[in-house]
Structure formats: structure tokens, C-alpha cells
Symmetry: C2
Subunit: 288 residues, 2 copies
């Protein structure tokens, strides 16, 4: 099975290569009150929200979700390698009915601020790491921390002004656009079904190509709080505990890359957005 395969770097495939063991993972339960089930025609997506970091955005998103606000809305701005953005019809009554949010783009820390460190002095931040499953960045000098834009990040869209977000949101679907950090409110992350986000229909075109009709935009069949989904339809997930020793050990291993596959040793660095935080499903065997 090791033939012609490039080195396994994700626990998704440990059963194949035997390089790691799922018993070495510390798990954490998701809170169904802060977990979203989004149903697309291509499959189900689970999102963990971040009330501890972006409380107002999460509260509004949960409120709208509870009211079935997002059901039947579409991904109307989908740019390959960048973002998939959804929301109600521009300037509709529904669109204008939603309160404006004050941006939650970073938070104050102090010298005792604790998180699981990943990398010092990457291109964009003094320090990167994880906190409660989320990729974060930190400036000790400024005593500020923020959720960082990685693939699978959920953030609220806005107009030019900082405090202009309402209900439109986007998922990052390409190389981390970290220049948007501290400029947008990140408030969740995809923990299951990212491939379905990746197969949302692109709406942008290159010169010479005809765009898809807006009637063919990918539609959200349903957006629900997991706690409001009937028990038998819930997807019960646990996610890797990024505060655990096991997770810290995995980071060390990943940085050092002690494997004969690496005949040239890569630099001992880690891109915080290139580290997947694992999930596992507890309640049922869902066919991919």
C-alpha cells in the first residue's frame, strides 16, 4: 500500500500507512448548541462556531439559523481558490431586515495569554497557534490575538466599512488569504464535509467564458443548529483537542518529519493553515 503514494500527512489516512494511531488523539465533544448542520444537494456540512471569540456574530448567525433565514439562500459569489459566499438576495426586504454588527476582528490579550503555539514569525504574525480548535495568530507586542483565515474558515462578509456585516457569510476555499486577518470577523470553521464546500458551483469566470445562470447557483437546502435537528438526523462529532499533550506531540512530530520519505529535510517550520484538526463521527456510519 505504500507504493507510489506520497507521504501521509494527515490522520485521515493513518489506517493505511500505520504511521500514527488514533488512540494517540485526545478528543473533545462539539456543543450542539454552537454547531451548525448545513445541507447542500451534494452533501452535509458541519460547522463549529466560535462564541468564545466572536460572540455577537455567532449569536446573530445562530438566531438567523434558528429562524430558517438561510434556507433556500444561494452561494452567489464563488471564486475558485478564494471564497464561497452566500446570503439573501441583495437589497431584498429579507436582506435589509438584519441588524448591522460591530466587527469582532481581534481581541485583547495579556502577557499570560495561553494557546498551543505552532510557529513564530511566519509571514503574517509574530506567533501562530491553536485555541479551542481554531487557528489563531497572536502579537505579544500589541497584546492582540485573532482568528486567522485558513481553508474552511467561516467569516462574515461586509461592505467597505468595518462595522457593516449583517448576514452574508463566506467560506475560505483556497490558499489562506491571511491578508484579510484583523479585517473580517471569523466566527466558525468547517469540521465535516469540506469537500462539499469545495464542490459549490463557481460563479466567477475567466475572460471568454460564459458564467452560469444565477438559477444554477448552489442553494442551501437547510441551515440548522445541530441542537434543533431531530436526534436521528444529527451528526455527532468529536474534534481533536488542540489543548492536549497529544496534539502538541503531533505538532513536534510534524515539524521534525522523521521519515525516510524526506530524503531532503524540509525546514523545521509549520504553516498553521496546513495543519488539519481531526474530527471523528460517533453516532452512525454515514456513507461518504
Amino acid at each position: 500500500m505504500m507504493k507510489k503514494i506520497i507521504l501521509m500527512t494527515s490522520l485521515l489516512i493513518v489506517n493505511v500507512c500505520g504511521a500514527a494511531n488514533t488512540t494517540d488523539i485526545s478528543w473533545r465533544k462539539l456543543d450542539p448548541k454552537h454547531t451548525i448542520l448545513m445541507t447542500l444537494s451534494q452533501g452535509k456540512v458541519v460547522i463549529e462556531l466560535a462564541p468564545q471569540f466572536s460572540p455577537k456574530h455567532v449569536a446573530q448567525f445562530e438566531q438567523l439559523t434558528s429562524e430558517h433565514f438561510y434556507d433556500e439562500t444561494t452561494f452567489y459569489r464563488v471564486i475558485d481558490g478564494f471564497v464561497a459566499q452566500a446570503g439573501p438576495k441583495e437589497d431584498s426586504e429579507k436582506d435589509k431586515s438584519v441588524p448591522i454588527l460591530k466587527v469582532e476582528d481581534q481581541w485583547q490579550t495579556n502577557k499570560d495569554f495561553l494557546f498551543t503555539k505552532v510557529q513564530s514569525n511566519d509571514l503574517y504574525a509574530q506567533q501562530t497557534g491553536f485555541s479551542n480548535g481554531f487557528a489563531i495568530a497572536h502579537s505579544a507586542k500589541e497584546q492582540k490575538a485573532w482568528l486567522t483565515h485558513c481553508p474552511g474558515t467561516l467569516a462574515m462578509a461586509r461592505e467597505s466599512g468595518a462595522d457593516t456585516a449583517t448576514s452574508h457569510f463566506y467560506f475560505v476555499i483556497g490558499q489562506a488569504p491571511r491578508y484579510l486577518d484583523r479585517l473580517m470577523t471569523v466566527f466558525g470553521r468547517v469540521v465535516y464535509g469540506m469537500e462539499h464546500i469545495q464542490s459549490i458551483k463557481r460563479t466567477s469566470t475567466i475572460e471568454g467564458e460564459v458564467a452560469i445562470d444565477s438559477r444554477d447557483h448552489t442553494k442551501i437546502i437547510a441551515m440548522q443548529l445541530m441542537s434543533e435537528v431531530p436526534k436521528e438526523q444529527q451528526i455527532i462529532l468529536e474534534v481533536e483537542d488542540t489543548e492536549s499533550d497529544n496534539f502538541a506531540k503531533r505538532l513536534v512530530k510534524r515539524r521534525n518529519r522523521e521519515n525516510e520519505f524526506f530524503y531532503n529535510k524540509p525546514p523545521p517550520v509549520l504553516d498553521v493553515c496546513q495543519i488539519s484538526v481531526r474530527s471523528r463521527m460517533l453516532n452512525k456510519e454515514i456513507k461518504k
Copy 2:
């Protein structure tokens, strides 16, 4: 149209925001002899090969393509956020029939080595940039350069040893795994239809989830050299000339982010894998 949208960062959508103009782009024709048309059930993908950087891998890949070697092969190892890998059935006669390649993971430069510079001292390299449309990295100290793993990169898979690649290949579909640089032979890049690569069926699962049956793996309907495709079925593309002044100007603009949308100024840095090299279609209007 600017309502509720996050800032445009790609020319894909310049017509919407008016922030750039397609007349400011210098274009370069693809050589159909070194261009691949890959047909999947979900759509057509165009790949530019890199004979100037990885001549032996490109020659072998072109030879196999001409012989219809890849038609009906499947993507049997597809890990969300990482790679989509294809090739013939493991250890089949077809698989074993292919000559082994010597790795082409980097090349010698000299003090006069010229390329379009993007960033000094990012996490993985002394210098990043572009050469002939490809994202590269360079060490002036070692006088070595290499094609760097970005989303859309095409590279040859291998076993543990350096010189073990034959015909199995992969596309990068997630955050750039740049720790694989100088360890794998990168030999092409997707210039059209990346969304179809992104919708290749994932074969890896999380704990508790049932994998798809191998009969449902995404199949390559046809892999052809563009020069061998009947004229009326060819997709004629031009790509942005990364050696042009216009491209260099765009990099400067992107780094500085002079737009009111950026109420906090991001660090003046650029991730080479976060810069898209544009394409345009010349011959016909293909519906997305």
C-alpha cells in the same frame, strides 16, 4: 454590486468591482504540445506542463498521455485539503510497464538567475517568485531553485526513495504543502478547470465514516495532449505573462493594498501560493 462582498482580489471578478482592467494584463500563449486536456465527468481541465524545469517527467507524462495510458484510470487517493492522486491499478502489468524516473526536484542557478520576485524570507525559502507562470522558490545561498507546491500544482508521486516515480501523479487541492518542495518532481499546473479538480470524490474518511466504494472513484475519461485534440474540441488559452511589467505592477499593488476596504493595513507581504496567475479563453465561449 459592492454590497456585502469582501474585497476582490482576483481578476476573475474585475468586471464586477472595476478595481483593475483586463487591458493591463500581458498575455502569453500556451504551447499546445506541452498542454494537457483532461476530461472528467464533471468538466474539462487544462494543465500547462513545465518541460523547461522538469524535462524528463514531462517527456514521460506526454508519452504516456499520447498512448492513452491515463484514459480510464482513477483518482484512488483523494484527501481533502491535501492531494488528489491518480494512476493505473497498483502493481498491474500496466503499472509495472512504465520506466522509473530520476527525481527532478530542483535545479542549479547562478548569481545572475532572473525571475519575478514575490517575497523574501517566507517560512520555507529565502526567496519566492514566478518563472514562466510557475510559482518557484530560490536559495541564492545554495544557488538552487525549485517549483513550489501550491494549490493546482501537478507533481509525480513516488515511493520512499527519491528516484522511484513512474506514472502516478497528484494535484494539490489544499493549503500549499510546501514541506514537499525539493522532495517531489513538480511538472505542471492547472490553468483552467481547477473547480473540477476540487470536486474529485474524496477517498479518505474520518473515523466512523464509511469510505466510498472504489468503483465510485472519479475516473479520467480522457487525458490528451492539446495538440492531438481535434481542432474543434480544443480549448485555446492564454495565461498571464509573469515576466511582464504588468504582472510586476500587479504584485506591487497587491502588496500595498491601497483600498478603503483595508481599514487595518495588512503586513506588506505576499504568499506566492495565494497569487493567481490569470488565464483567458480565446477560441470559444464555454459554458461553466
